[in-house]
Amino acid sequence: MMPGTRYPPMAIWAAREIQRHAGRSMLLFACLASLVFLIATALLFSQALDATWARLLDQAPDLVVRRIDGGGWAPIPADDAVAFAKRVPGVLDPTPRLWGVVPGPGGPVTVVASIAVVPANVLNGIKPPMTGQAVVGQGVARALSDSRLNLGSRQSLTVNVVDILPADTGLATHDLVWMTPEDARHLLGLAPGQASDLAVRLFRREEEQAIQADLAAAFPWPVRITERTASALRHHTRAVRLGGIAVVAGIPALLALLLIITGTILDNTGQRAHWGLLKSLGWTTADIVRLQVNRAMIVGIPAVMLGLASAYAAVFYPPAAGVTAFWITGGQHLAELTLVRSGASVIMLEIAALVGLPFLAAVFLTSVRTAARSPWTMLQADPWN
């Protein structure tokens, strides 16, 4: 079987033309692939980051109630606060939180204590800390020289680090120091029975705004209520801004595309004599344009596909994704990012169109303009004349 019969002769000849200008074609392929890779990586990363943050924030409490006084925030009586919150219809599972920010050996750390028992499936083999012990996140562990951790606030406390939280939980636990409620209260200067604030879940999340007034009125002291959606919006804005910055940073890449297009135009102009010969041999303007578009597609489509696939792998496949996260965030190690199928598909299609269409349009328009000239005029540029 002759394989040539599988492809139209015009496509075979377009491939032959690519072979004739192998260096230029390789350069074009590399430029297109890297341009697509750079833009797609940045946009897919910001979109995946947005999805990952949204997924994490989905686990955050809907509302956080903090008691305030003239000097700022004040500790909250845990049992009373739970009782007051439960009176408000639509409030689920009010949980007093014990947490605070204290100076650690490598900078401020987030001290947390869980009043409730942490389920075994969460612990996954990690022993909960006993009095005088702490379980720390990767960021805190890195700053330790031995297993003793000195934390200083109103009161100073030295705890023995008995375990380190897994690296893949880093998005939530990187700077955490998990200790017993007694140690946390001692460190944060809280009296027994007091908590830092009260976390609340709602029966209907969409009531987040509406329920705040009822909730504030249910407490006998002034409170400040922060909502999850405000935080989620801030994170979303930040992710979008990151994507925007990436696109702005992609301007040089777009300039590179412009250069590619200019190169293509110059290439076409240089081929005027060749096209004049083709016309004298019976090629029409449409044939020449078809040849050039075929040629552009044989180089362009694999380049765009390679750029997109590499960007996809660089963002969503762990070993490469770690490198990408390190590169884009300037040193952070992120766990695997969340893939939102529709969002990623739209971004990839958009980028394919953003790069592919101007390229094909440039090839098409310049080819039409040059090939439509009189064959005699074009032949005059040939080396034989």
Binding site: M2, G4, T5, P9, M10, I12, W13, R16, R20, H274, L277, L278, K279, S280, L281, G282, W283, T284, T285, D287, L291, A372, S374, P375, W376, L379, D382, W384, N385
Partner: protein, 232 residues
């Protein structure tokens, strides 16, 4: 004038575009008909306008006045979008050959066939046939740049004939050939004419002027084309 078949010039004038109108014409009132099945030879001094006449007949140039008719159609008046596809019926041999040096001999022959919607296998068969006729079968895979002048010229003729065009226009087709190959080229062109093609040759070559294979002879001088009945 009967304009139904073949190729004809009707009061054809040509002056290079951009030249002043008081400058002499390159071709003036050319009135000629080239019939199918005949081999016509146009002779003339260097610079007399023979190549220009061929380019006008091939639809590469437009006449300043008058018309070129092909098979009863005024092709010189046609816009490019109609004239370009018509050019598929023309096989032209340039004086400078215009081969693509980095392509192989076979690939140069493939060039006119690509846009003609012919099956790949048939293209290869046609190329094989032309290579055999041009005595180039052993050189199918050789790059054109490796050929001698005579071989290149035979390749240019093969390229003009490979798609079996209706009109064959050859500019100095035997200039670099030995007697044997010149006779071979004459035979090729005669064969094409016998198959119904219109063959117009512009040449200085005395071997062609003396050849019996030429059916009609014309002489171009002072921008005017005249038919000469004599063989010399």
């Amino acid at each position: 004038m009967e304009l139904n078949t073949g190729m004809a010039c009707r009061r054809l004038d040509f002056r290079w575009p951009g030249r002043r109108t008081d400058e002499p014409l390159v071709l003036e009132s050319v009135e000629v008909k080239f019939s199918p099945g005949t081999v016509s030879l146009v002779t003339g001094d260097t610079g007399s306008g023979k190549s220009t006449l061929l380019h006008l007949l091939a639809g590469l140039l437009r006449p300043t006045a008058g018309e070129v008719w092909a098979d009863g159609l005024p092709v010189s008046r046609w816009p490019s979008r109609h004239r370009d596809p018509w050019r598929q019926q023309v096989g032209i041999v340039f004086q400078h050959l215009a081969l693509i040096p980095d392509l192989t001999v076979g690939e140069n022959l493939l060039l006119p066939m690509i846009p003609r919607q012919i099956a790949w296998s048939r293209m290869q068969e046609e190329i094989l046939r032309q290579l055999a006729d041009a005595d180039l079968s052993a050189l199918a895979d050789a790059p054109t740049s490796a050929l001698s002048g005579g071989q290149r010229q035979r390749l240019a003729i093969a390229r003009a004939l490979v798609a079996r065009p209706r009109f064959i226009l050859a500019d100095e087709p035997t200039a670099f050939q030995d007697d044997c190959h010149a006779a071979q080229i004459r035979a090729q062109l005669c064969h094409a004419a016998h198959e119904g093609a219109v063959v117009v040759i512009c040449s200085h070559d005395p071997r062609l002027r003396a050849s019996d294979a030429i059916d009609r002879r014309y002489h171009l001088a002072s921008a005017t084309l005249t038919e000469s009945s004599a063989n010399r």
